[in-house]
Symmetry: C2
Amino acid sequence: HRPPCTDFDVAYFHSYSHLGIHHEMIKDRVRTETYRDAIMQHQSFIAGKVVVDVGCGTGILSIFCAQAGAKRVYAIDASDIALQATEVVKANNLSDVVLVLHGRVEDVEIDEEVDVIISEWMGYMLLYESMLGSVITARDRWLKPGGLILPSSATLYMAPVTHSDRYSDSVDFWRNVYGIDMSAMVSLAKQCAFEEPSVETITGENVLTWPHVVKYIDSYSVTINELESVTANFKFNSMMRAPLHGFAFWFDVEFNGHAISSTNYHLATPFIDNHQMNGGQRKKKSNSNEALVLSTAPEDPPTHWQQTLIYFYDPIDLEQDQVIEGLVRLSQSKENARFMNIHLQYTTGGRSFVKESVMR
Amino acid sequence: HRPPCTDFDVAYFHSYSHLGIHHEMIKDRVRTETYRDAIMQHQSFIAGKVVVDVGCGTGILSIFCAQAGAKRVYAIDASDIALQATEVVKANNLSDVVLVLHGRVEDVEIDEEVDVIISEWMGYMLLYESMLGSVITARDRWLKPGGLILPSSATLYMAPVTHSDRYSDSVDFWRNVYGIDMSAMVSLAKQCAFEEPSVETITGENVLTWPHVVKYIDSYSVTINELESVTANFKFNSMMRAPLHGFAFWFDVEFNGHAISSTNYHLATPFIDNHQMNGGQRKKKSNSNEALVLSTAPEDPPTHWQQTLIYFYDPIDLEQDQVIEGLVRLSQSKENARFMNIHLQYTTGGRSFVKESVMR
């Protein structure tokens, strides 16, 4: 239950004590308003119940839950921002309802079972620096059978992208610099620009095919073990003739659960079939019900998560209907547990490639 | 002549081996085109002469000098970017003219006196992480009497600013967050947003008075000693009624010298009087001749240097003609020689304040 707090943990928690990062997250209206809407949509379940907010930050989601009628909210954060959250709760006369616990989910004590776990745990590319492990710990320590987890599921997608402007700005720029041929820089330019994953905003027009599910996460059943290494095979058919510059990754999370299905979620598992879990391509936004979705897809309004791009050093000219197949593996770095290794191998037009990158 | 290469030096040189930083600097057209224009304006002096480029980076200024007819250009850089510069020079068939020296100015050897020193040495707020010390070393080691230094001078300015939008976005934001009173965050928000100097772009409309000269640097006579600590008194009269949010700093550099005055620059010193060196307020852009100026002032086109802002934790309501007086001292940090301490004390409306900040 209580792994030691590493130096990396300390640095991570400390980074969240700076208010700027919370400012940026709260200002992200897509994020914050979708969470608020999800809480209000589940108001009838939350009212009178006990809630845990994992990684509460400024306490905003805990206060939304209090406004939805929660009997008690345990707001947990290991960062010093918890001290500020305590003050905010007090200033809003909610100290009787929202109890801020300053510590790790592994270390704090709650002397009752809880009905609801809410958490905004998602990192870039869903899993980078994510707090999902803490949500799992909270679930296994405290959640009642039949309890609610928000979000109820998360899905990481990938798709091949074309992005000539970006490539040209980073690489072709050097071919003519105020009339000087600096092509000698091109090889270094590719390495500097494209060695590491890049968090940036693209649009639907950059995306060459329907996306592919890399990982579907059911908040109720996911285990720490299955997150250590995530592997997915993919096979895309390019919908147009275009230069392929790399792959984009993004995610969505769904706020499904008891407000939608009155039966026990563990029995209903309504999304498994929809998601075509065995590596099939998923039609975008295929929700068959009205579950709220927080999407970070290129065709949806931008969020602070943007998209994560992995560019190739050289583009590949694709014909229409050309197949790109391969596999992607995301795994914890041995160098630093908070880094994520991304192994990509892909074959198209008879040529095979491997791209290793590290998200730091 | 040869101080040891510290860990900070190594980190500094290494940071310039990443191409992105050079890309950003070269893309700054105000910077690069003003340097090119300055070289071309001094073409009659440079033609047939020996040039040193201090901190050559990709080698672009060295190549401009070769295009201007220099007999030989020593392009010096301690960062690994020098390896790329060598390739660029070779690809442009200039290896006979441009000799790239990979090392510190203190460590490399040049077996002749030089006629011209060119360098783009300016850092944020002019002096932060600047290479001026290396320019001084190069001058004292190699420059002929009567030689040319480009830029020939630099001036650091400051002025009081009003910036309600910026203050409000960082501070007042917390007073109503999706209907929740988070005023408890305000004190931390001020600290996080305004403790350190902020590099950002403002406009002339943010500036409340004519600027004041903090430091005038004559490239020909400046010494390392006088840069260790720079102190200036200031006295401003607010030109309008407005909330005072802090002070902005910016600089310009001038490319004066032999193309303009055919007499020896050391005798001419044409700018000392114009600059009213004894702490007087200087009228903007008061060049009495046609010397080229690279300006990073708020009213001029933006550059990658932007402006450097030091905000107060709380604004001060100024009346028209209200006096703000005080002093500013810039000095090397003892903690890290590359950090700069900024000590500000100011009095207005009968109240006195001190603000200490560190640029890291």
